[in-house]
Symmetry: C2
Subunit: 137 residues, 2 copies
Amino acid sequence: MQLSNTSKYTIRILAYMVNHKDTGPISAKELSENLTIPYKFLTKIMTELTRVGFITSTRGREGGFQFLREASKITIADIMELFNDAIKDEACILGIESCNSKKKCAMHDQWIKSKVQLQKMFKESTIENIAGKGDKI
Amino acid sequence: MQLSNTSKYTIRILAYMVNHKDTGPISAKELSENLTIPYKFLTKIMTELTRVGFITSTRGREGGFQFLREASKITIADIMELFNDAIKDEACILGIESCNSKKKCAMHDQWIKSKVQLQKMFKESTIENIAGKGDKI
DNA sequence: ATTTAATACTACTTTAAGGTGGTATTAAAT
DNA sequence: ATTTAATACCACCTTAAAGTAGTATTAAAT
């Protein structure tokens, strides 16, 4: 019952990028060192984030990554979606295919309540608005 | 962001057992067939549930499994705990070791709210009280 | 006693996530 | 032109969860 490492890393990466967006492209090296994320794994993530258009990359010396989509338009839910980590509407907590409001699993009602609240939270949390919060850790 | 298959299976198994507790021991075969859980994987789970004292087993013909601990004393949180699936109090959603109320990660406040609600839900849901609910699916 | 139907145990295979290594490509700085 | 510091790509390794296979043990029914 937790996020994938890939989603966790991505959130921290993008939040870091918001907090350092004035000084030109940010390199994978800087991100890896400051966020203690394995370099090679991080570059794989960055390439993917570039591919889907969250960020752009500039190759070569002085290159790195910058936002393409506005940070206020990227939600935690978007990131979870990207890495197949999302809580889908139809997802049954007991993994039952045919579970829905007409034919419920044993935990349906409890779970619906929690699920809606979680989904809302993840959807309302944008990279922009979390980046300012929290301490530098 | 979901339960492990092992936890999902266990919840369904124990709920089924509550709903069929009058007719003596329930065999792994019956559980496997009625819940469409792979037989061999299910027996592994049953052995574990026996080992930790949720249920007892009787070997040999006419044998099977029965509750040892009362179903009203087994919560979803207990099951998640057993299979290393629990949402621990100190668990940071971004996976940061040193994250706590004094030194917060960027998502700390949002997550705390959801986390508390989830933990409460899982703790208050006992096998006994979910077993009666839902449709037979 | 033997058969049958059950659990228990041990070891293996498969799958997906997480992580690593090496090389090609790119572009600024020299 | 060459060096240097960056991303991109491709293939591999590791780990843990999920699932499978075979055999030993147990006890009721015959």
